[in-house]
Subunit: 422 residues, 2 copies
């Protein structure tokens, strides 16, 4: 690696900066679903969802370049770009979700969504799942499933067991929806008993970090009833499933049949340009801004709006949601045809698919095996990663311009890797 990059990186970016892969990859160029490293080696990118419409999509690049050359101020001046974009984006949502607050990152989106719920309800109690991630600010890191957040866990955030395909909450797949709702009801009772009251339940309606369990439409209906009855709000974190990723629906909450009060979004929104957002009803925004003079310098600028708008254009013009359904369905069928003693489940939707690996014949997660699969696929030129509470679910989540040929290449490589492992 030229110029001793890992050593320089460690020195100037500091210790414990994570990298992917045993031998970190130095990527220097990208195009569509392809990445090239510094040695000129090509990789199939089957992991990155931020370049939603493909690495370096010329329409997004041109939109950014043209607007950056023209003007890039902030929302305290009027600009038509953000208004046009907000109208287009909110038109994809129903149920009175018609006011957009633009921010820069998914973390910022969730950080203010939670406070919108506080302002609207006058309560502070919050609930998330115990295997989730909603971002990295002080507030949202309270929901991180991993290490205790710096400063400790607060009493007004409660965590409920995440739904699971193979190890259902409550013990049975049939009863999981009611059992999950009962856990939420119990957490609400605890928050109320502790004097915090209940403000909101935040969840990714696809449960991406939880390992995207296979859940039927309507799964969250009992939970929704419990939340509404308690006077709380539902925040749908659409950072991962949004923008057509799951193929059948533009938003993850539509797919599962959830009616959120607040929707947050991020990663794919600007194809890599730092843009994220919160969409909710006018009265919730009113409550928030009545209590807090929110302004975000880099958010909702003409360039942010141009990038995000170009992404919507490309999704529509290239039919990427339908393509996710079609190619994802083809890939899913291919993954389901794989035969290996450690494959416990193959699941997902659209271009968000996973293979869960366990110890043979049981449900004990096999994280080392899964990590080895990830490494060997990288050695064979296919970039994927893993996720889930047990770190044992292969995570396949490519740019939406993934083709059937790409799907076949991935399937062939994975089959080859599995052939050599037991």
């Amino acid at each position: 690696m030229k110029n001793n990059l890992p050593t320089r990186r460690e020195r100037v970016l500091g210790p414990r900066m994570t990298t992917f892969y045993r031998e970190p990859v130095e990527i220097v160029r990208g195009e569509g679903v392809r990445l090239w490293d510094a040695a000129g080696r090509e990789y199939l990118d089957a992991y990155n969802n931020v370049p939603h419409v493909g690495h370096g999509h010329p329409r997004v690049v041109e939109a950014i370049a043209a607007q950056a050359a023209t003007l890039n101020t902030h929302t305290r001046y009027l600009h038509e770009g953000i208004v046009d974009y907000a109208e287009r984006l909110t038109a994809t949502l129903g149920d009175g979700l018609d006011v957009l607050t633009m921010v820069c990152t998914g973390s910022e989106a969730n950080d203010i969504a939670l406070r919108m719920a506080w302002a609207a309800t006058g309560k502070t109690g919050l609930i998330g799942t115990d295997a989730t991630y909603h971002g990295n600010t002080h507030l949202v890191s309270q929901f991180s499933a991993g290490r205790t957040p710096i400063g400790g866990r607060v009493d007004w955030v409660r965590r409920v067991p995440a739904p699971d395909s193979l190890r259902p909450v409550g013990g049975s797949v049939e009863g999981q929806a009611e059992a999950f709702a009962a856990e939420v009801a119990r957490a609400i009772d605890e928050l109320e008993a502790a004097g915090h009251g209940f403000a909101a339940l935040i969840l990714d309606p696809f449960f991406a970090n939880e390992g995207f369990p296979d859940l039927p439409p309507g799964f969250l209906a009992p939970t929704q009833d419990v939340v509404r009855a308690a006077g709380g709000l539902i925040i749908a974190d659409e950072v991962q499933p949004g923008f057509g990723r799951t193929g059948g629906h533009f938003w993850g909450h539509e797919r599962i049949g959830l009616t959120p009060d607040i929707v947050t979004m991020g990663k794919p929104m600007g194809n890599g340009y730092p843009v994220a957002g919160v969409v909710t009803r006018a009265e919730i925004v009113e409550a928030f801004r009545r209590d807090f003079g929110y302004f975000n310098t880099f958010a909702g600028t003409p360039v942010a709006a141009a990038a995000a708008s170009a992404v919507l254009d490309v999704i529509a013009d290239e039919g990427l949601q339908a393509r996710a359904a079609e190619v994802g369905g083809h890939l899913l069928a291919g993954l389901r045809a794989l035969d290996h003693a450690r494959i416990a489940d193959v699941r997902g939707a659209g271009l968000f698919l996973g293979v869960e690996f366990t110890e043979p014949g049981g449900l004990a997660p096999a994280p080392e095996f899964t990590a080895e699969v990830v490494e060997r696929m990288r050695e064979r030129g296919v970039l994927v990663h893993r996720i889930g509470r047990g770190g044992n679910i292969l995570k396949i989540r490519p740019p939406m311009v993934f083709s059937r040929a790409d799907a076949e290449r991935l399937g062939t490589v994975l089959a080859g890797v599995l052939e050599g492992m037991d």
Copy 2:
């Protein structure tokens, strides 16, 4: 205004979105220090610091466009761009400040800087001034001088009286440095008595939001001694004074003679591209990352590094720090020559200048008068704004490519406006 923009904006961006000026300006194009509205009217921008090297600077635009077309991934792959940038940026700082953590916004920078102090000290008590602003996340909004943050004020954040040019802490200009340090010492005692312990004092070393009082070099020396003796850290928020803005120094803490443990930066860093950062010592980063697996998707990407790197190039190649000193000095002299009964003080450094207006003959702030000056200057084609606890300080903080001719135009317009007001 075409297409009824204000009404559409209110509907889709929600109520209480602030705008500048009684009649909000719809800006459609910018170049250097000039902005044009939708009707084609030209304005001199004497306010915006985000376009640090000028609106639409071609070198920054080209750097963003070229890198966005080539690659824009994240820091879990190796990339030379962020390492090169981090080496260049940390070279501008001394005192062991040699590790950069890139983030997207100044709010994110301060949100993690405070938690770095928690991790490094094992304490939670924080101190800021009572007339400041450090951002908009849940954590950093605890420092906002305005309304109570949503969720209420926490007990582990204490606020000390901000230094002031005309109304010094402790009653005398000569004693203000010691009096400010004594206030910090008192707040530390309170935090320790309350069981929180003391982690950090956060301040903008230029005290920009406080109204950038005229303070001598060494002003913060007694405060620094108090903080060090108590085992706490100093966080310098350089979002406003950094990157040569004050002319004589590249960083605000150099100007006042402060040695911070952590430096945060934002707005001007990418000339409008959403990029911000935290620079500190390796052991503080180590403590933070040992306790918290921090990762930020949009931060430190190849495009963010390219934009930020181009800004450093332009500052150097166009001599913008020296220019800020030279043009700023010329402008300051011009402002000091103005004669009006309500001008109580003219101050600042480099291209960050202010005129403080009070009721004639006294120190009572004159916010309505100041607001009227801002509006009338806008009517005459010069964009400025106001700041300070009393909202009575004209804030002049243009892009760094401001020229002597621009300074003269501003001075002439301000003189003309003041002539018609009493």
